[in-house]
Symmetry: C2
Subunit: 683 residues, 2 copies
Amino acid sequence: MTHDNAVAVTVHPAWLPDAALAPLRELPSAVLGSGPCLDTARAELGASPSASTADAALVVAAVSDVGSPASVGLTQLPEVPAGGHAIVRTADRTVVLGADGPAALRGLYAVVREVAVARLSGVAPGPGTVLSAPEQPLRMLDHWDNVAVHPVMGQVERGYSGGSIFYADGEVRADLTRVRDYARLLAATGVEAVGINNVNVHAREARLLTDGLGDVARIADVFRGYGIRIFLSVSFASPRLLGGLDSADPLDPDVAAWWASAADRVYAAVPDFGGFLVKADSEGQPGPFAYGRSHADGANMLAAALRPHGGTVLWRAFVYNHRQDWRDRRTDRARAAYDHFAPLDGTFDDNVVLQVKHGPMDFQVREPLSPVLAAMPRTRLALELQVTQEYTGQQRHVCYLAPAWREYLGFRLDGARSVASIVAGAGGGGAPAGGVAAVSNVGDDEFWTGHPLAQANLYAFGRLAWDSTLTAEDVLDEWIALTFAGAAGPDLARVRPALHEVMDGSCQRYEGYTAPLGVGFMVTPGTHGGPSVDGYEYSPWGTYHFADRDGIGVDRSSATGTGFAGQFPSPWRETYESVETCPDELLLFFHHVPYSHVLGSGKTVVQHIYDSRADAVEGLGGVEAAWESLADLVGSAVPVAFDARVRERLDGQRASAVEWRDQVRSYFWRKSGVKDASGRVVY
Amino acid sequence: MTHDNAVAVTVHPAWLPDAALAPLRELPSAVLGSGPCLDTARAELGASPSASTADAALVVAAVSDVGSPASVGLTQLPEVPAGGHAIVRTADRTVVLGADGPAALRGLYAVVREVAVARLSGVAPGPGTVLSAPEQPLRMLDHWDNVAVHPVMGQVERGYSGGSIFYADGEVRADLTRVRDYARLLAATGVEAVGINNVNVHAREARLLTDGLGDVARIADVFRGYGIRIFLSVSFASPRLLGGLDSADPLDPDVAAWWASAADRVYAAVPDFGGFLVKADSEGQPGPFAYGRSHADGANMLAAALRPHGGTVLWRAFVYNHRQDWRDRRTDRARAAYDHFAPLDGTFDDNVVLQVKHGPMDFQVREPLSPVLAAMPRTRLALELQVTQEYTGQQRHVCYLAPAWREYLGFRLDGARSVASIVAGAGGGGAPAGGVAAVSNVGDDEFWTGHPLAQANLYAFGRLAWDSTLTAEDVLDEWIALTFAGAAGPDLARVRPALHEVMDGSCQRYEGYTAPLGVGFMVTPGTHGGPSVDGYEYSPWGTYHFADRDGIGVDRSSATGTGFAGQFPSPWRETYESVETCPDELLLFFHHVPYSHVLGSGKTVVQHIYDSRADAVEGLGGVEAAWESLADLVGSAVPVAFDARVRERLDGQRASAVEWRDQVRSYFWRKSGVKDASGRVVY
């Protein structure tokens, strides 16, 4: 397969099919002003540059381009919020006013969404004004894409959707059509930034910063038309690797000068460049520790290079010892980010954002929130999520992640402030906003995301980054309304409940047949796909469950364990500290308990393990039946290829889930010797 | 590194250093006759083609080239055994008479060995005649070398000694100097055949049979000078892959004709070609099952193609279901070869040799012998050993395999006939001899074998294939005497006991800290290096230990288990059937027993697991001390680079052995809950 040829008519339109745009394209419309995003809006509507607002039923504009209210057919102009948009509906027209060109384009896509949702719900939006402001200023997708195929990690690290849409054959693609289509999809969700290369920066990828700038600029040009800035992942060792210096010491003036010069060159090529994304001193990547410097020293040096241009450093907090000794139960990977970074609060410059994974481990389906998010009030923080399903089914299992993300964003870490408010800079500590970032799940797959239903995760990320108060169910409704906008009304009314049946509880179901009660991992080493209960148990990676014949779990209490629970503010510190108050779903994350420990459900831990694995697999029957119920719509509401791919994935999910169920059940039966009270077969 | 440049002065001479040849090169010598091997012998001695036997103290000849006894200075000619040689020592001369040119050359190397050993023992050979005949007609090394680097398995599958000496950069090497050096080393051990490519035949390698024949002929030319034939591993699907046919059905006349024609072309290029080595219907390789045909159908069809040229089919018996369900305890991989092949006894043509791995599983450090070897009296059988240390330390651990091989060869499978006698055709069932084959451990490493001491395994294989009655200790003495022929006498006297200390018990020591009591595996999936107790426990590969909280082991009895024990003839059938009579070292291979089961040593199984892992690691102290005792000889008797490599490997061995010890001990402590009575720390 040659990747560039994959830019073909067979690519699925995701949540922007022509049918979703058609109702607007039928209206007489006018787009005021010019600029990359306003030109895009005009093209989306097929509006003439000379169209008169007087005749238009749909007007799009950046508020700064609007002279008088009358010029857009209104009696007064609304207060357009920063970065956001207003949608004004009158008897004869809809006016979209953006804070700027990108915001106006996003506002147009908001109208597309509203029209589609109205068709689903049967409730059309009435006259009036709707203001919409983004909750997070940074709404970014990180691509773990390698330019050259990596011998172990492939082209897209933790990618399950084919090759990269950016790179092929060791180079940036000549044809960026798929990148433009992707930018369009993202703009419709509210995403405004993209990191275009893997945070593990290998030799070829490091050179994007220097001799690859021409190609980087081509990518930026595409994204610019959709209001999306680009970031580069850079190697902290670049001055040595690329600059011929013999050091990358952040306090070395030559090093700082090299970075300043590098930043100058980047901005000369990409004036609206976002900044650098850095994974330093993490899993083998170089960093300031090599020179006895702190992470603040490292980040601030890069920040200084970017400051003249308005750029930002996104510095990842994912720092831990990945050469840990499994024999040493005092070392706790969960503690590492806090131990490294909390003492540095207040020392990062104001164009540094510390990017913190949602949990203290690594994107498990169930973890507590990271206490780092509560511990650095004077630091700009960004929450990092993972859209690509590394540990949540690798796009072979349905796992709609929005419910989990919404829970993280709404979680009140100190009992008062939600995570969303903290990263939005409304946490009260004085630090400006950081934002939200996530690892993309997109590749050059015909359905973008391998599993067609995994498109909903990408969609939901952008929407929840914009507004974390949206419910996961409403976001799913939006995605259904847009994606199946071409379906006849009665068909759409059947697709909707079927997809809710398949997706609403999918994440809990996945949790149900995989690692129990928050203990995490139990995955095949390397690939992280499929079960291997002891796969990481005697490894240096710090991810253990400590199951023995009597019990299981990691004691992270302060009283007798690693003390991780004590990194949380009240009330969570106390809640997690005690076996009695720790939520059952996190019990084994915080405590080592006997198999006979009784959960809130009244079941013992081991019986819960037995039952939940089997119940979750049985639950797949409902999923399969729900999809099967749409069989007569295949070829009409549901494209044939879409259906075929979903079925193939559902088959694979069942096989994998059965394997999970049986391995986990057998493992604990062999270890505990406790019979399954349900009488189900244990192998 | 460019591989071809590795043909350099730094390559270690292994067991043929100049010092080993020097005593003979100092003598006036004559080599009678001509031919590739006699020319080689002449060159080895630096003898003039016109040298007169009258003046020679050393005469080498093929017996057919000798006119009268007087022409070689003897009063009568000895009866030279088929394939072997006679060494006649008189007062003034040594006469080497080979059954043919290759045998004469091997006889010359035997004299080299005798001279070196005499120096070690202080006992010079006296006058008289020594006759030496090979016990096995086939003494072959199989190379699992890929022409093109395989994305998963690399250049040499299960190779731990660098790249291939045959191939580099996807082609047969232009410079075959290392191949010639290798051929010379092999000739000195008695090896007479080499399979030059991997039994897993990938696309590039399959083409050696067709458009690669010119290169194959170049390799054959090199080996011919050392009396070594070459074999090709072929894909059973070749008629489809290479011939454009739409079938590889062995009963299809077009298929048979294609193979006959392919064989004609091979023999036109390589007149002394050995034949085909075939892995069929095994681990994904194609075979006759796809056409509903038997393995006899497949092998006999190839045999017919080779028969006009005198060639042989080596057909591997390593056939089993590698997609087994771990839940199904009735399916037993150990049974597979017998179940597939024993019913076919008597149906293979006489130029087919069935190549059988020594154990029923896969080259574990401890397995019973394969019952297939006793079950096919009317079939030519070859024993397959593994010199490359896939499961025995991967040339990072010292593991001198000769004691184990000698045990296999001498094992009396039906209480009377040894394995060596069965494969030598002296088993009484009427089948002619098969022989012995082994997977080579050689690569383009400067020491040939990664670990310098692993050279001794390669040496020992050839010697034991020639004569299985040699003791492992005597073979090690030979290897020491030759390898360190340049050492001063008193130094050599110190090297000898030090190396025996390091190597004699090394295989038992490795067994001691790895999988216990014959249960096998417990290795990291994929690489097979390092411990992972449950690594293959829930896999489709059929290699399980079934440890639970109460006990461990695989019930292969006929009474209650898979019935594998019943595949053996008496008395082993009865011996293995019963827990009481089964040897402890194979207990867990044949039986599932409680941890409290008491072994012959008086220890329980679990205490044995605890103690043996720790004892074996402690035993490494003696190994390290023995090597350290030679420190003052580094730079004289022991080359500096040789010492550095051995030390690096000993360090790595200790680290790996500690990991094995701790993981296995912790695993069984967690599972059994039984305290280690020795009081040693368990993590």
